[in-house]
């Protein structure tokens, strides 16, 4: 059974001195680079050594890639390594691992689990994915039906997950599964780490409206998961999952957002480059979107300032609602400005896109892809409920799923 960090075991490596400040970190990076020439060292070796030196994520504990330093000091360390031409740890491919799995393992894993998973996660040798959503559980994530049944020496998982980014690259997946269908739905869940190469795990590309398969469906058939791959207690999976999702929130702040960044940039560029397409009606619409984007930019800046001042506000949900709408409206209007060009589409062939910069993609592709912005990571409708209930203090939606065993809920 799991031993959590709250059990008070001694840390893996004791550090007697206080956490390093910015200057001390800069010195350590310098010393590290003197010993490990980025140009002359194998990338994987370099990254493993950087992890061992505690310069991976400096706010993590010593022995787990960090030095217990302040979170805000990471940016300068990353910048110093980047300047020296150090290899990257596949941050975009492993965005789920670095952003969501790692903090959850750190918070809920025992020492053995941390040692087992965090080093190869940080170096990018192992990519992670998140197996949460199901065809029958999207916004209502706590309704997941994938079952985990104890079978003497392991949990046996059966079910179907969907919208799984990176599953086709992933070695490991974090998964929310139902261990007690008799319990009320939030209480019958447990949280595991699944070996994506284990027998019974099948990953299929899920073709989307752009023609590509950016996400996956993952089918689990009698997948055996040892108990030492459970994070948190049995029946406490919802709390662990909520912690994971808390880390999903887009980090805002840290420097000035450029004016005209995002979807309005392409729209404005098109307007400037094609005077022949201008009409008074289109002009007014372009200007309205420009103003709304500038307002959204300043709102995000203000939110960043509030967070930096230690006044975390609930504006994050609002910023997400706003940017989803702006992306959609700007890309839609851009197609209109393009006229006949707006009717063409580059390629509907089913393929696997690499992690990419949206700005480099065709206008038609962006128009289609941005439809998902108001669905993924919390639908706009759910976020409105969040604002109404948590910010404005309005009554919660009436619920039919309280005090009812999960197995008896209509579906």
């Amino acid at each position: 059974m799991t031993t959590t960090e709250q059990d008070g075991r001694a840390p893996l490596r004791s550090v007697s001195d206080s956490p390093p400040d910015a200057a001390a970190l800069a010195r350590r990076v310098e010393e590290f680079l003197a010993e490990h020439d980025p140009a002359g060292t194998d990338a994987a070796d370099f990254l493993r050594a950087r992890f061992a030196a505690g310069l991976a994520w400096v706010h993590y504990p010593a022995g787990l890639g960090g030095l217990g330093a302040e979170n805000g000091l990471q940016t300068a360390v990353d910048a110093a390594f980047a300047r020296a031409g150090a290899p990257e740890n596949r941050p975009r491919l492993n965005v789920i691992g670095l952003g969501m799995a790692a903090p959850t393992i750190l918070r809920f894993g025992d020492d053995a689990q941390k040692q087992r998973w965090l080093p190869s996660l940080w170096t990018g040798e192992d990519i992670w994915c998140q197996l949460f959503s199901e065809p029958g559980a999207g916004s209502d994530l706590a309704g997941v039906g994938t079952s985990a049944v104890w079978d003497g020496d392991a949990w046996v998982l059966n079910g179907q997950k969907v919208w799984t980014s990176m599953a086709h690259h992933a070695r490991w997946g974090i998964i929310l599964a139902r261990t007690d269908p008799e319990a009320v739905k939030h209480r019958g869940l447990s949280y595991f780490v699944v070996d994506m190469t284990a027998p019974g795990v099948e990953v299929r590309g899920l073709r989307q409206i752009t023609g590509e398969a950016e996400f996956n469906e993952v089918f689990l058939t009698d997948v055996r998961v040892p108990d030492d791959q459970r994070l948190g207690e049995v029946g406490q999976g919802w709390a662990v999952a909520q912690y994971t999702l808390m880390n999903e929130r887009v980090a805002i702040g840290g420097g000035t957002l450029p004016r005209e960044s995002g979807a309005v940039g392409a729209l404005a560029a098109r307007w400037r480059e094609h005077p022949e397409a201008r009409t008074p009606g289109l002009h007014d619409r372009v200007l309205r979107l420009w103003v709304r984007t500038e307002a959204a930019r300043l709102t995000a800046e203000r939110l960043g300032q509030q967070q930096a001042a230690g006044q975390p506000g609930p504006e994050g949900s609002g910023v997400k609602i706003t940017y989803a709408g702006l992306n959609q409206e700007c890309s839609s209007l851009e197609l209109e400005l393009r006229g006949e060009d707006g009717l063409r589409y580059p390629d509907y062939t089913e393929r696997r896109p690499e992690v990419e910069d949206y700005g480099s993609r065709d206008a038609g592709w962006r128009y289609l892809r941005f439809r998902a912005n108001s669905i993924e990571g919390g639908t706009t409708e759910i976020l409105r409920n969040v604002v109404a209930e948590r910010v404005l203090g309005l009554p919660a939606e009436a619920r039919a799923d309280k005090d009812v065993p999960w197995k008896d809920l209509p579906r």
């Binding site: 004016r259 400037r272 480059e273 002009h283 309205r288 420009w290 307002a295 409920n385 604002v387």
Partner: protein
């Protein structure tokens, strides 16, 4: 043809001093001008609450905030002026604060130190005599000079905050203004003021006619800059009004029950309020940015003011209109404050230039030509 550069954002939060100032203004206004008192005044000929104005200027010093100490002011900045505007907006207080802000911005650029100090101290009020809907970024009409050039002739219609003004500042060329003594009770020498019923009962419009009015000509006045500063201040007034409308509506929907449920429990209504809240967070950000640009003399003020006016005009209007709608029948009655906010929001969306005016100005500023 390129994307505009990104100016420094500056501080968009409220300082402790600003919070204290807000608390002082709110306490005074809630005591002196609750909405029912404001409503009662609209049925009288006393359009302006001169007693409240006296206390605001003399006890709190709201008219001198943006004026340096050595010129008779408090040595604060337009950021603090904007905070006061938020509070006066949430109370639709009938005082000449907006007009004073524009006049102050104008006088700060001139050598009229005596007049500036008396305005800052609240001993006199001054107003820029241009039509209410004139916005920055386009030339304002000038009043004709007669004779040796120190007599004025002409009419300017729909001037805001001119009802009780002691001094009229009249544009006579691109860089010159005429300073005219307004006189008491509607007119001084050669000046006739006619205040008419106005859509916004708490900020009435005045037509000003000059017929050989003696004037002193002052140079160095930047009318366009004054209108930009005014737009920034007005955006904060609109923000305060919108916040008030949202707060009142939330309170009402929590209190009122229909079909055996709190109105606030209906998702259709919750989502409208959530959207309004999101819009108000944006109004706060753009209004704060415009105020800080005015305070710091940022070259981005023309853009910031235009963005703030475009956005805050629409948000305040949305808040007032949705607020009235969500109050149902009671919101349509005279004895409920919703119409005070609606009328002010509707008027504010035209005052100092409509949203359309500001978008047109912005098109040139950010290189998105027609």
């Amino acid at each position: 043809m390129s994307a505009p550069a990104t100016p420094e954002t500056g501080d968009l939060l409220y300082s402790d001093v600003e919070d204290d100032l807000r608390a002082s203004v709110r306490a005074l206004v809630e005591k002196q001008a609750p909405w029912d008192a404001v409503l009662r005044r609209t049925d009288t000929d006393d359009a302006v609450d001169t007693d409240l104005w006296k206390r605001l200027t003399q006890e709190i010093g709201v008219a001198g905030l943006a004026v340096p100490e050595e010129r008779g002011g408090a040595g604060a900045s337009w950021r603090e002026v904007a905070v006061v505007a938020e509070e006066l907006g949430r109370a639709v207080a009938p005082v000449p604060f907006l007009g004073t802000a524009v006049a102050t911005a104008l006088l700060l650029g001139t050598a009229e130190d005596e007049l500036l100090a008396s305005v800052a101290g609240g001993e006199r009020t001054a107003v820029l005599v241009v039509g209410a809907t004139r916005g920055a970024g386009r030339p304002v009409p000038v009043v004709e000079r007669q004779g040796a050039g120190d007599l004025l002739a002409g009419t300017v219609t729909a001037v805001v905050d001119a009802v009780t003004a002691d001094v009229l500042l009249v544009p006579v060329s691109a860089t010159e203004i005429a300073v005219v003594e307004a006189g008491a009770d509607g007119g001084g020498d050669g000046v006739t003021r006619t205040t008419s019923e106005s859509l916004d009962m708490t900020r009435r419009l005045t037509d000003v006619t000059f017929d050989g009015a003696p004037a002193r000509i002052v140079t160095g006045a930047d009318v366009d800059h004054a209108l930009q500063v005014g737009a920034a201040v007005l955006a904060s007034e609109q923000l305060g009004l919108a916040e008030r409308c949202l707060a009142d509506t939330v309170a009402y929907l929590r209190d009122r029950h229909q079909f055996g449920r709190q109105l606030a429990s209906y998702q259709a209504l919750k989502h409208r309020l959530a959207d309004l809240w999101v819009a108000i967070t944006q109004a706060r950000a753009v209004a704060r940015y415009a105020a800080r640009c005015a305070a710091d003399g940022s070259p981005d003020l023309p853009v910031a003011a235009a963005v703030a006016q475009t956005h805050c005009s629409e948000v305040a209007l949305l808040a007032a209109e949705d607020g009235l709608q969500l109050h149902g029948g009671i919101g349509f009655t005279w004895e409920h404050p919703a119409h005070l906010f609606l009328k002010r929001a509707r008027a504010d969306a035209l005052v100092l230039g409509s949203a359309d005016h500001h978008r047109t100005v912005l098109a040139d500023l950010v290189d998105l030509p027609a």
